[in-house]
Amino acid sequence: MSAPDRRTIIVCIGNELIADDAVGFEIFNRLVDCPARLEFCGVGGIDMLPLLEGETDMIVVDAVQFGAEPGTIHVLPWESLPHSSSAISAHGLGLRETIEIGTILYPEKMPQRVTLVGIEGRCFNRTRDYMTAEVQDAIEPAVSTIENILQQGGTI
């Protein structure tokens, strides 16, 4: 794979100890040799902002629950993500809100494009051994999807 001509940061999110939530971590491990800057966050949200160093593109990889079949790979520009409603704990700040905040506070550091590669999960309340089979099977295709986005210079 040739190096992308745009500066891209990939942020993988997830908890490697939790069933389908571990998918971000699994993908992170498989992207170690990719030419983009690669970061891992246990929890996404606002902590992604300090990671940004003025890259033009960001790809966020995370397990999602959009109501599709488990293992579905969603590739979405951040503008099309749903708003989160108000959170009752610190765990609940969404990617969309994070990017909106970043755009207000640190416009100079924000990527021009932010793409979510979300893998639809189903099981989030059991340990790693219970990863849904369809989610497990989606890991390699998701890695290919991300590599394709990189090759296209961030376009989807």
């Binding site: 999110i13 908890n15 490697e16 100890l17 939790i18 389908d20 939530d21 891992f40 966050c41 246990g42 929890v43 996404g44 949200g45 606002i46 902590d47 902002l49 300090p50 966020v60 995370d62 397990a63 999602v64 629950q65 959009f66 109501g67 993500l81 749903p82 989160s84 409603s85 108000s86 959170a87 009752i88 704990s89 610190a90 765990h91 609940g92 700040l93 969404g94 990617l95 809100e97 909106e100 905040i101 207000i104 506070l105 979510l116 979300g118 999960g121 989030f124 309340n125 059991r126 340990t127 790693r128």
Partner: protein
């Protein structure tokens, strides 16, 4: 016939957390509570692992308070090995921890509770959110996030990794301080200190304004209860010391070492939630509170200048002990001030340059340790066999201990903002706000991106008569 109002935030997780409000025929409150479907199996996955992996593996339980688990596990292993951790190692663990507290509290105050305080509980949810607060006050938001980043940097440098620290181990810490690192940490601390004169009045101003607008918060949202916090050398402490239990009046009822926790903290099952409630057992069962406000109720002294001065202000406004739910935010602010001052003390303490690690071998037996997590007392209890393998594990987390009080706060919010009122939005806001004051860690792992429908089902005799949805 009884009527049930169910608020169903569901977060991103089906059946993850719901609020129910049961009304009597006359519309008065019967009872209310938060239903939690906890993550299953964490204590089980620890079984069979080498004990010395506990500080690393348990740190990954939670993306929000990993350092609390990291340190509680280390303390438990020190206990199991029967070693006295060198003073320099305890100081460096504490320094890491102060970074963690700054990081965690900044988020909780500004991002989580900020929207309620800045916009007010009655504001349109379209603006009463974190994006709204940032738009309304970008300079304060920037400072808050900078404070959070500084906390994270301290945590990361001493802990070796930001999100999931790795340096604290059985018998001490692997982090080695040198003059260059000291200089960098000192610069961060100085920068954080310099932000305080802006941050403190701003947050207090927002809180007081919110109280003006919502007198019920001051008059009705009061939850007198026992409290539990850690004390050491006649001051608040977060990673070592004795646990002190106080009653509603603030009188000390008991001080005990953490290895006796199972004599006094008793778990009980409630039929409507997966989470077990914990009561304090001493001449009967008592509901109690843990966390920033409980800590300062239990020990009204920090031993640093600015924090003690701010605590005096806190006590003047909120009482001592304080039982105002909304003052949890103020308590976090006082602790943030203290964490910055305490980090400064530690990095300039000559003892920090001493021996940082002693060798350990595990004998067969028990390891018990604790930390004061940002949200309250966290206890790790392991059974370790003669080969150093974990045979049983029990973790008592803050949210379980706060559970009874959270439910009482939900009842009070329902009473003052819900019962007899027809404003659905006010209902949702008030109940959510009362839960947010405790920042519950519902399963420590649930952050998947997705939609968070907020649903209230009002049922009467098993029939749903009305459904209110946040997204409608």
């Amino acid at each position: 016939m009884k009527k049930t109002i169910r608020i169903d935030p569901v977060t991103r997780i089906e059946g993850h957390a719901k609020v129910f409000i049961n009304l009597n025929d006359d519309g008065s409150l019967d009872n209310a509570g938060l239903v939690v479907n906890e993550l299953r199996g964490f204590e089980k996955i620890l079984i069979g692992m080498e004990a010395d992996r506990m500080p690393h593996i348990t740190a990954r339980i939670c993306g929000v308070c990993p350092t609390a688990h990291h340190i509680a596990a280390s303390n438990a292993l020190d206990y199991a090995a029967g070693v006295t951790t060198p003073p320099a190692a305890m100081l460096l663990r504490e320094l890491m921890y102060m970074g963690h507290i700054i990081h965690s509290h900044s988020l909780s105050i500004f991002v989580l509770q900020g929207p309620d305080l800045v916009m007010g509980l009655d504001a349109d949810p379209a603006v009463r959110n974190v994006v709204g607060i940032v738009q309304a006050n970008p300079e304060l938001a920037k400072i808050a996030l900078r404070l959070r980043t500084i906390g994270q940097k301290i945590n990361e440098m001493v802990g070796g990794r930001g999100t999931h620290p790795v340096t604290s181990v059985a018998g001490g810490i692997t982090f080695v301080l040198d003059q260059e690192k000291k200089k960098i940490i000192q610069e961060w601390i100085d920068e954080a200190r310099a932000l305080l004169p802006t941050v403190v009045p701003a947050v207090k101003g927002l809180l007081l304004k919110a109280l003006d607008l919502h007198p019920a918060m001051l008059n009705d949202w009061v939850a007198p209860s026992w409290g539990l916090g850690t004390v050491l050398n006649d001051r608040v402490s977060l990673i070592e010391g004795k646990l002190r239990a106080i009653d509603e009046t603030g009188a000390t009822m008991l001080e005990f070492n953490v290895d006796e926790y199972d004599k006094y903290l008793v778990e009980s099952v409630v039929d409507w939630s997966y989470m077990k409630k914990v009561h304090f057992k001493l001449d009967g069962l008592h509901e109690y509170r843990v966390g920033p406000m409980a800590r300062m109720n239990a020990m009204r002294r920090f031993g640093t200048e600015m924090a003690d001065a701010e605590y005096a202000e806190f006590a003047k406004l909120g009482g001592s002990p304080c039982h105002l739910t909304v003052f949890q935010t103020y308590a976090k602010l006082v602790e943030t001030i203290w964490a910055i001052e305490r980090a400064d003390e530690i990095i300039n303490d000559p003892a920090v340059w001493g021996e940082t690690r002693v060798p350990v071998t595990f004998k067969s037996g028990r390891g018990v340790g604790h930390s004061e997590a940002p949200r309250g007392t966290l206890i790790h209890d392991y059974e370790i066999d003669e080969k150093g393998i974990i045979r049983a594990a029990n973790l008592i987390v803050a949210t379980q201990q706060n559970y009874a009080i959270i439910n009482r706060s939900v009842e009070q919010a329902a009473q003052s903002h819900v019962i007899g009122k027809t404003d659905d939005a006010a209902l949702l806001n008030a109940v959510e706000f009362s839960i947010r004051c405790y920042d519950p860690c519902l399963s420590c792992a649930t952050h998947a991106v997705g939609r968070m429908p907020l649903e209230i089902a009002i049922t009467c005799g098993g029939t749903t008569v009305k459904t209110i949805n946040r997204n409608n």
